[in-house]
């Protein structure tokens, strides 16, 4: 049967059938191919209230590339894998971003959103369980706050506070040599500055110095046990991860601080709403040691809305961040 024997009505119907079948079929096949592909995993990102990462648990094998197709379904999100030095990826809404991850060690890796996408941004996390290969034999080390016996959930009021903002520069210019037990980095991070001040105040090496000058020495102790690089890294991490709640100036007044208080779980009703810590307040800050601060960052603040950063930041980054927090007490004010 040739085309000539088909009436124009039949041809029109064939054309309609083609349109009606081909368009939905093509869209469905393309969609199915992209989302059911065994070659790449598609991860949809949504604000935590709408589900976070979907899926939020992935499996991978050591040495095998894991191809990811990342797409945000609502606002701009970011994607990064914790404790890795790879740059985070931005995920503009509705746009597919592809990346490939290869793991050389088995373990559980956390991936997370790097953009402030909402009050519960930090909950937007998922894990990649990497199997195979030889497990690295890593020495299990307790966090420092645990080995020092610090209760990081306890209140930590400062036993002394300065009248004038301490200055590391002034402290250095005093030319005082720190007594034994105050010279090393571990001496600084293990003890709250207020305790250090009290000990130094009683020490003979500070005889003749005013209280404020002893505080300047405490500030100098902090500055002499960290580096410019660590402080710069801490500043960058703070801006990226902490400032939205704690505020750029560390005053606990970040852009979404109020939203966090408003979004407090109902079981906290009757209690004081969890507001972000104020790093500029000497009455609490100077009663905390660096080990306590690092522990809080590492583990998070139970029931306070403070996220845990242990699976995200490397040890060096955690300490850089803790070091940087002291700039809100001892840093030069502009």
């Amino acid at each position: 049967m040739g085309l000539r024997r088909l009436s124009s009505e039949h041809l029109a119907r064939i054309a309609l059938a083609l349109v009606a079948l081909v368009v939905p079929l093509a869209v469905s096949v393309a969609w199915w191919g992209a989302n059911r592909s065994t070659l790449a995993v598609t991860i949809h990102g949504r604000v935590s209230e709408a589900g976070g990462w979907l899926p939020d648990t992935l499996a991978a094998s050591v040495g095998s590339p894991l191809q990811l197709r990342l797409v945000s379904d609502d606002v701009v999100h970011g994607f990064a894998v914790g404790r890795s030095d790879a740059d985070p990826l931005d995920l503009p809404p509705g746009q597919v971003v592809e990346t490939t991850l290869t793991f050389d060690q088995p373990g559980t890796y956390t991936f997370y959103c790097t953009r402030w996408c909402g009050p519960n941004h930090w909950r937007m996390r998922g894990v990649i369980v990497v199997s195979g290969g030889s497990p690295a034999v890593a020495e299990v080390v307790d966090p420092l706050y645990e080995s020092l016996g610090i209760d990081i959930d306890a209140l930590h009021p400062a036993s002394a506070i300065p009248r004038v903002r301490p200055s590391a520069e002034r402290g250095e210019s005093l030319g005082v040599e720190f007594p034994e037990g105050f010279r090393s980095r571990s001496d600084f991070i293990a003890r709250p500055p207020a305790e250090t001040w009290q000990s130094l105040r009683l020490d003979s090496s500070t005889r003749g110095l005013s209280d404020s000058q002893v505080w300047d020495l405490v500030a100098y102790q902090w500055r002499s046990t960290t580096t410019d690089g660590a402080l710069q890294e801490g500043q960058s991490l703070f801006a990226q991860n902490c400032a939205a709640c704690h505020g750029e100036s560390g005053g606990g007044d970040g852009a979404i601080a109020d939203a966090i208080s408003a979004a407090a779980p109902t079981h906290l009703a009757g209690n004081e709403p969890p507001s972000p810590a104020d790093f500029t307040d000497p009455s609490t800050m100077l009663g905390a040691s660096s080990a306590l601060l690092q522990g809080k960052i590492l583990r998070g603040g139970m029931g306070t809305g403070m996220p845990y950063w242990g699976p995200i930041l490397t040890d060096a980054q955690l300490w850089s961040l803790a070091d940087y927090l002291w700039t809100f007490q001892f840093g030069e004010t502009s």
């Binding site: 009505e9 054309a15 309609l16 368009v23 509705g94 746009q95």
Partner: protein
């Protein structure tokens, strides 16, 4: 060669019509069903793409063809180009009623015996534009979520197709388009301003034609799907430019003509009250849409989007208050004041019906300006969507990553102002003509001018401020 003639309009001014169907090529292209069907099939393909990608593609409105191609590209093309310059031409290829119409006819092309529908007449009580007015207002209330959520857009379009199929299988002809389609009444009203019309050449020929095949149908085509007897056509409101009368007239008495813009708006002819109300609802809606979508208040936009929330209920009440009560009420007050000032014995109903058509140019200008502002702000969403139509990471045109860039700047604002002012000038002229026709003079026109200025001031405030 096209025939040019200079008939005298009802208002007495000279106007020129150009009969496009005197051009043999144009006529043959319009009479043949193939070209129209090709465009209709392309529109159906577009509709299917939009529905499929709306349901399966990204839920991000700015990246999904359902929202971007429908509410930015199609809407702008309709309001800025199609309706002002081609009237209801879109209705002749609109894909929404086609599945129903094809099922009803049992054919895609020429008539093939009796169709499949029940062919019942549309209920007399539901005739007119009231149901359509209600449908428009209901869709408008939910428009912000629909505008921004691809899935809702897809469901709305699919729902309209299903309703059109059901209506086509039960009722005769294009009852859906004529009496239900939320956009149909809108296009019909403003098609009166368009410089294109389908009219009979000589009504006396129709009067003498005993079989009236343009209405009853013939082997060459279907009786008017829009349920209009072409010989009585005096405006574009109810003519869907489906071209059937061109095919069924054995006497070559149907013409498609270019004409001066707004030729349907005759100062001496009152419109039906439902048509007058439509005009007022649409002008009120244009005002609300401009304020919500282009205005400075993000809280208002959030309220309009949060369907079902207390803030949305307030927005919905405000929308209804402005469009159904305030604007019609103010217009009624203006026409009543005009009647009193001119001491003319004229009923409130008559006043409304005489003056409402004068708002068509201003309403059309308001919608065109609003749509232009909206499309200039959002036009940069179109290329990324075309480059990755289903949101799968494709980059067909190399424009997938193109950032959002509003175009036009200050110049665009002034273009919107110019469009609205042109609409105001045109409406004002018509208001004067209606008042003169009613022998009310300037005194009668003044309050209606005041109403038009008020609406214009509201629009300009949004566009400039």
């Amino acid at each position: 060669m096209a025939e040019a003639r200079k008939p005298r309009s009802a208002s007495g001014s000279l106007m020129t019509h150009v009969d496009l169907t005197r051009l043999p090529f144009v006529r043959s292209m319009l009479v043949a069903r193939g070209p129209q069907l090709a465009v209709q099939l392309a529109a159906v393909a577009g509709l299917l793409l939009v529905i499929a990608s709306g349901l399966l593609g990204t839920p991000v409105g700015s990246r999904n063809p359902a929202t971007v191609l429908v509410w930015i590209a199609w809407w702008a093309a309709l309001m800025i180009v199609a309706v002002p310059f081609f009237g209801r031409l879109w209705c002749g290829v609109c894909p929404l009623p086609l599945p129903g119409e094809w099922l009803q006819r049992g054919a895609l092309l020429r008539p093939r015996g009796r169709g499949r529908g029940l062919g019942l007449p549309w209920p007399r009580r539901l005739r007119g534009l009231w149901v359509q007015n209600a449908a428009f207002v209901i869709v408008a209330l939910f428009s912000l979520p629909v505008l921004t959520q691809p899935r809702l857009t897809a469901l709305l379009l699919a729902g309209l197709v299903l309703v059109a199929i059901a209506v086509s299988l039960v009722f005769e002809r294009r009852s859906f388009c004529r009496y239900l389609c939320p956009v149909g009444g809108f296009i019909g009203l403003y098609a009166q301003a368009a410089p294109l019309e389908v009219r009979v050449r000589d009504p006396r020929v129709c009067a003498d034609h005993t079989t009236k095949t343009c209405y009853t149908g013939s082997a060459d085509g279907y009786g008017c799907p829009w349920q209009v007897f072409p010989a009585t056509l005096t405006s574009n409101v109810s003519c869907g430019v489906c071209l059937e009368c061109l095919r069924t007239c054995p006497l070559d008495n149907v013409a498609i003509r270019l004409r001066p813009m707004g030729a349907d708006l005759r100062p001496s002819a009152p419109v039906r009250i439902d048509e007058a109300f439509k005009s007022l609802v649409l002008i009120g809606s244009a005002l609300v849409y401009a304020i919500v979508l282009l205005g400075p208040s993000s809280a208002l936009r959030a309220a309009a989007a949060a369907v079902g929330s207390p803030s949305w209920l307030v927005y919905a009440a405000g929308f209804l208050l402005v469009t159904v009560v305030l604007v019609p009420g103010l217009f009624l007050a203006a026409t009543s004041l005009g009647r009193s000032a001119a001491r003319r014995r004229l009923s409130a109903n008559e006043g409304l019906r005489r003056f409402a058509p004068a708002l068509v140019p201003l309403g059309l200008a308001a919608w065109a300006a609003f749509s232009l502002g909206f499309v200039l702000t959002n036009v940069s969403y179109i290329l990324p969507v075309l480059s990755d139509p289903i949101g799968l990471g494709w980059d067909l045109l190399g424009t997938t990553s193109m950032p959002w860039t509003p175009v036009g700047g200050t110049l665009a604002s002034w273009a919107l102002v110019a469009i609205v002012l042109a609409g105001l000038a045109w409406s004002s002229r018509h208001i004067r003509a209606v008042a003169e026709n009613l022998t009310g003079g300037v005194r009668m026109a003044m309050p209606v001018w005041g109403f038009s200025f008020l609406v214009t001031a509201g629009l300009l405030w949004v566009f400039v401020a």
